[in-house]
């Protein structure tokens, strides 16, 4: 291993490779409940060429490679389960191109959400991208590869739907491209080619390393507003969501249910944000949204919270600060959530299952969802905060997460960015031929099985 590490240093320079215990400790875990697993070394490449050389070396020595973006996935996907190296992509953080007319950006594999947001605000204030509610250091590549979502997901779907192409370094050291950039100098779309991007999205880093990607941008409005819809009956939610998304004017819709503050307990809320180029257009959009659920407000069983403009500003912050506040509610820095992707008609079932699990395991919970597209799906999330310094608290949260994954699968949903036990639950429920094909693809791309081993395995 020492010789291997020396050769890594030859590739990146000695300042970007470490096998020191403190680094190995820090890279052994994320903020979630999964137990630590130490890598043998951490390496930070600075270019696609360096990534290529590292992959060639790792493949030659059959050393496991775990690609890592911001390291914020929370479900332990960037732990070195079989040792080897963690490939920390943060040095490759350049924003390479903005195409304002075709509205896309091309960035390196380690570019963060915050960097692109700041860059656009400064250089292209007329454009924005869909920010997830993660800390700004979360990477675009990481978020796309886990099928993330964000503040434009009603408008543009999953972040993986907004991907226009990728540059990938395969485990064998080959560099390949997906989407229009494989044919043209431009990164405008994945169509009309065979969609090879799918070989790298949702695979938890088991098929290759993303070194560049293209992502769709959207108009940034001069006028922005939001509404909060409230009701008491979870069974109404699928219809409400369907009606609101049916207007096709919202950018983002996030239902939320929480026992704290006390006034919110038992109520179901939906934050709906939308923007416009003028005040008149903004009012028009608000009227459309309100009219879509007038049936319920006329019956007085649901409606929109009256929020003076001064109180709306915190809800219009992107990313939202609220989840971060909840994340440390138990103190001790432990936080994990199960996001299950499912059809919106299961909203009430998902909500009731969450309440039952929180009661059963006595955990601090926050539930919510992000609506995808025009009600095409939702990511329903169950967030559990725990105190990392309290082993009993961690165990409680782990049990609650397992129970939640089980419940989500029973409802018909699929746990999102699933941690190891959930991956196994999914595989057990998955069509056998689908899983066989996954393994065949993986063997072709990664013959020596060096990419994030331990994940997506029975």
């Amino acid at each position: 291993m020492n010789d291997f590490i020396r050769q890594l240093a030859d590739i990146t320079g000695p300042g970007f490779v470490s096998s020191e215990p403190e680094e190995r400790y820090l890279y052994s875990m994320d903020q979630g409940t999964m137990s630590p697993a130490e890598p043998d070394a951490v390496v930070m490449p600075g270019s696609t060429e360096e990534v290529r050389k590292i992959m060639l070396l790792a493949n030659k020595y059959k050393v496991p490679v775990v690609p890592m973006g911001g390291g914020l996935v929370l479900s332990g996907l960037t732990r070195a389960l079989h040792g080897g190296i963690i490939l920390d992509m943060k040095r490759m953080n350049r924003i390479l191109q903005i195409n304002p007319k075709s509205r896309y950006a091309v960035v390196e594999g380690g570019a963060s959400e915050g960097m692109l947001q700041a860059y656009l605000k400064k250089h292209h204030p007329e454009l924005k991208h869909s920010m997830p509610d993660a800390p700004p250091i979360a990477t675009l590549a990481g978020n796309i590869c886990i099928h993330g979502s964000g503040h434009l997901s009603v408008l543009g779907g999953f972040h993986s739907d907004m991907l226009t192409g990728m540059e990938i370094v395969l485990p064998t050291g080959d560099i390949m491209r997906t989407g229009s950039c494989s044919v043209s100098p431009e990164w405008f779309a994945r169509a009309p080619l065979p969609d090879l991007s799918g070989l790298f999205i949702g695979w938890s880093g088991t098929t290759g390393v993303v070194t560049k990607l293209g992502i769709r941008l959207f108009p940034s409005y001069s006028h922005n507003d939001m509404l909060i819809f409230v009701c008491e009956d979870a069974d109404l939610m699928p219809d409400v969501i369907s009606r609101l998304t049916g207007t096709q004017v919202a950018e983002d819709m996030t239902p939320w249910m929480t026992p704290k503050p006390e006034w919110a307990r038992g109520f179901l809320h939906i934050n709906i944000s939308y923007g416009a180029h003028s005040k008149k257009e903004l009012t028009f959009k608000r009227n459309l949204l309100q009219a879509s659920v007038k049936k319920y407000s006329d019956q007085k069983i649901a409606g929109f919270l009256p929020l003076p403009p001064t109180e709306k500003s915190r809800f219009l912050k992107i990313p939202s600060p609220d989840l971060v506040k909840f994340a440390d509610i138990r103190k001790g820095g432990g936080f994990e959530y199960v996001g299950a992707i499912m059809a919106i008609e299961h909203f009430a079932e998902a909500y009731r299952a969450g309440l039952q699990i929180a009661r059963m395991y006595n955990v601090s919970y926050s539930m919510g969802a992000r609506i995808i597209g025009a009600g095409h799906a939702m990511i329903f999330f169950y967030a559990y905060a725990f105190n990392r310094a309290d082993p009993e608290d961690i165990k409680r949260a782990q049990h609650a997460l397992e129970a939640t994954n089980t419940a989500a699968l029973e409802i018909g949903g699929i746990p999102w960015k699933s941690e190891l036990p959930a991956q196994k639950q999914i595989i057990n429920k998955m069509d056998q031929n689908t899983f066989n094909l996954m393994n065949q693809i993986r063997s072709v791309l990664d013959p020596n099985h060096i990419m994030n081993p331990g994940n997506w395995e029975k």
Binding site: V230, W263, A264, S297, G303, L305, P308, T310
Partner: protein, 320 residues
């Protein structure tokens, strides 16, 4: 017939609806009322038409706003039991549920003042907008008891300045109509400011500006104080410009209609208020109600008028 929000075909139509309400019968007014309090001011005989209307709304289970909206606000504004005993001294200024505005109580105007705020001393008058007289009956006596027990009694003070005229309306008009006894003397903010200006006339530097005043619904419960405001404006050299929508014809700021899910009406009210203010050439839009200011302030500012509370305008005149 003076009602600005409900259409009547004529006086007989209005009388017919009022007769139904008096008889405790169904009336469209129960459903169409914007809860602006104005009829309380219009009535020259002290018959409390507004309170009776709300009473009937509640009795008949009329919901002015969707139930979850009302329920959440009932919880938000409930007493929290977080009050602690405190020695206070005069003047005692009650900021009600607007602790974020305690910074307004400052300078020579409020020299030496003790400030009270928080949900445990919330005046609860807002429930008139939501057909919840029962909540007023239930919570206001406890609020009064908290004010007395935790602040005034031990400090041997029997006077309290109400920063917001909703509070003043609660401890005068509502308390009297609802049979709630008030053991302290409520002082309207205008009354306090007016007297205080008489004590420090040498400090006043007339501001010599035109101001448009946005009269709040709550001032309908103490209309006599509107004249005191005129005196204040004269003393600080502010010209209260004649607005179409001032005094008895004041228009709602638009805040409550949004809670009642009548946003399009609220937009119309905002537009009418602002165009009316702009037509006067005023520099400032002056509020006495913090909620009106929260609702209208941003719009007013976007149209080039400076939104400001009465107390802050007076502080400007005092050079602060």
């Amino acid at each position: 017939m003076k009602c600005q929000y409900i259409e009547f075909t004529g006086i007989s139509d209005a009388k017919a609806e009022k007769s139904k309400i008096n008889a405790g019968e169904e009336s469209r007014v129960l459903y169409e009322c914007l809860t602006c309090y104005a009829c309380q001011e219009y009535c020259q005989f002290g018959n409390n038409p507004f309170y009776l209307l709300i009473e009937l709304q509640e009795k008949k289970g009329v919901l002015t706003a969707p139930k979850p909206i009302v329920e959440e606000q009932l919880r938000m504004m409930s007493p929290k039991g977080r009050i602690t005993r405190q020695k206070v001294r005069s003047p005692v200024v009650n900021m009600c549920a607007f602790p974020m505005l305690t910074g307004c109580v400052r300078g020579k105007l409020f020299e030496g003042a003790s400030v009270l705020s928080g949900n445990d001393i919330f005046c609860n008058i807002m429930w008139l907008h939501f057909a919840k007289n029962s909540v007023i009956r239930d919570r206001v006596p406890k609020t009064i008891d908290n004010i007395m027990s935790f602040y005034l009694k031990d400090s041997k003070i029997d006077e309290m300045v109400c920063f917001h005229d909703e509070c003043y309306g609660t401890y005068t008009s509502v308390a009297e109509a609802f049979g709630i006894s008030v053991p302290f003397k409520p002082v309207h903010l205008f009354d306090y400011i007016n007297r205080r200006l008489d004590e420090i006339p040498d400090l006043i530097k007339p501001i010599n500006e035109k101001i448009a005043y946005q009269r709040p619904c709550s001032n309908r419960l103490s209309p006599e104080t509107d004249k005191i405001l005129d005196e204040i404006f004269i003393k600080i050299g502010a010209q209260r410009v004649p607005r179409k929508h001032d005094r008895e014809n004041a228009l709602c700021c638009g805040g409550v209609p949004r809670a009642l899910q009548r946003d399009e009406l609220a937009d119309e009210l905002v537009e009418k208020n602002i165009s009316d203010m702009l037509s006067t050439g005023a520099k400032y839009c002056v509020f006495n109600c913090p909620f009106c200011m929260a609702t209208l302030g941003q719009e007013v500012a976007e149209h080039g008028l400076m939104p400001i509370l009465v107390s802050d305008l007076v502080l400007i005149a005092l050079g602060e």
